[in-house]
Symmetry: C2
């Protein structure tokens, strides 16, 4: 399985993804699910992938190859809006689907790549998309602060309680990490390392990026302090009268 979160705040955006992939319980591996396309001062595009690894890698590979082609007409580097980027990703997904699907017909997994896509290009506002496996997509509006993919339920309540559009970027990042900690405690199919990017609005470059591996000091402290804090909150909650 997978757990990915993309958050859109007034101050900026947060992207986070786990790295566990598995084809059955006895075939577990680590692959980063975060792809970054950055040209400082011009654009930052982040993709978080979920679904069948062969499918997501094929899509990212195709997008990358087109980025590097000397005669590229339409690619992530010359798209002028994030909407156009979403369409390019969608087109690549459908191309891979057409190529692979006939050979996957007998495979219940099939082609099921899907993405959270976000970023900023030039003077456009920051934008956040959720692209479904079929290649259609939705964009976060004023009432939508985040998109999740994969094992979304465990980590959703904390996002729902804490994240508002005006939440400071630093608090949002801590909340996303706690959401990952909660998910990993309750579900074995989501695992470290966690890739995290905090993007400050209008910077058009990544200045805050971290990878949290097994035993990471900060992540352990965050998890410990969160558990301690919540137990304290419990002790302070009003007692129930019967």
């Amino acid at each position: 399985m997978t757990y990915c979160v993309g958050v859109l705040l007034d101050e900026g955006m947060i992207f986070a993804s786990d790295s566990r992939t598995n084809a059955g319980l006895d075939n577990v591996a680590k692959f980063s699910k975060m792809s970054v396309f950055e040209r400082a001062g011009d654009r930052l595009i982040v993709m978080l992938s979920s679904g069948n690894l062969a499918g997501t890698q094929a899509v990212i590979g195709l997008l990358n190859q087109r980025c590097n082609a000397p005669d590229a007409t339409e690619c992530l580097w010359n798209a002028t809006t994030m909407y156009d980027v979403a369409r390019l990703v969608s087109d690549a997904m459908r191309e891979i689907d057409r190529r692979d699907s006939p050979y996957l017909e007998d495979n219940p997994a099939g082609f099921n790549a899907s993405f959270i896509l976000g970023g900023q290009i030039g003077s456009e506002p920051m934008r956040l998309f959720r692209i479904y496996a079929e290649g259609n997509f939705i964009e976060a509006g004023v009432d939508t602060t985040y998109f999740q993919t994969g094992e979304v339920k465990y980590g959703k309540p904390i996002l729902d309680r804490v994240i508002k559009r005006n939440t400071p970027l630093a608090d949002g990042a801590k909340c996303v990490l706690v959401s990952f900690d909660s998910t990993m405690r309750s579900n074995l199919s989501v695992g470290m390392p966690i890739d995290l990017i905090c993007y400050q609005k209008d910077e058009l470059a990544v200045r805050m990026r971290r990878k949290f591996g097994e035993g990471d000091g900060y992540f352990r402290e965050l998890s410990r302090e969160w558990s301690k804090g919540t137990r304290q909150v419990f002790r302070g909650l009003p007692d129930l009268a019967w």
Copy 2:
């Protein structure tokens, strides 16, 4: 959908269930999912049901009818252990399944009643079971403090962080209520009223029972204080260095 939790602590047991049933989004109703069989000083048996309502009601109805039959040979009132109670529930489930299944073959929902069963009989220790739709069941051991059914994922992280076998009964009850609050905030298929029983070990009677309806003052305060408390914990968490 449904959300039910049964907790086994050193001090006692907690049972909680929501009341929302739905057959499609336009057919939503309220039915309590908690059934209590109590004979003060002798036994307390609590069943939390999930799955198709016609199935769970049929099972509870059959058990009740057998309890009330004047010539009852085997029923919940004369079972001498909770294990025997679990077998009686299982037998009733299989009987209903045999009766109904041939008529439900074309219905994707089919017969899918399942139960959390717990309680105490005489001098036996408290025991907690999870009975699957097929009628087989598991019992909570020393490492298992709770069973959930239905929409279990949203409310699991808080149980995993807080509930230990030696958690005081009052704290456990608050934690279960917060688990319900988290679930209801993130998922519309779980809804009030919430039935709650806190059973104090060896009392062999229900002294603490509450139903929390829409707008319940205590529940609202609990939810508000929990949200406020967790946001405070966030502000106190160590900042991330980049």
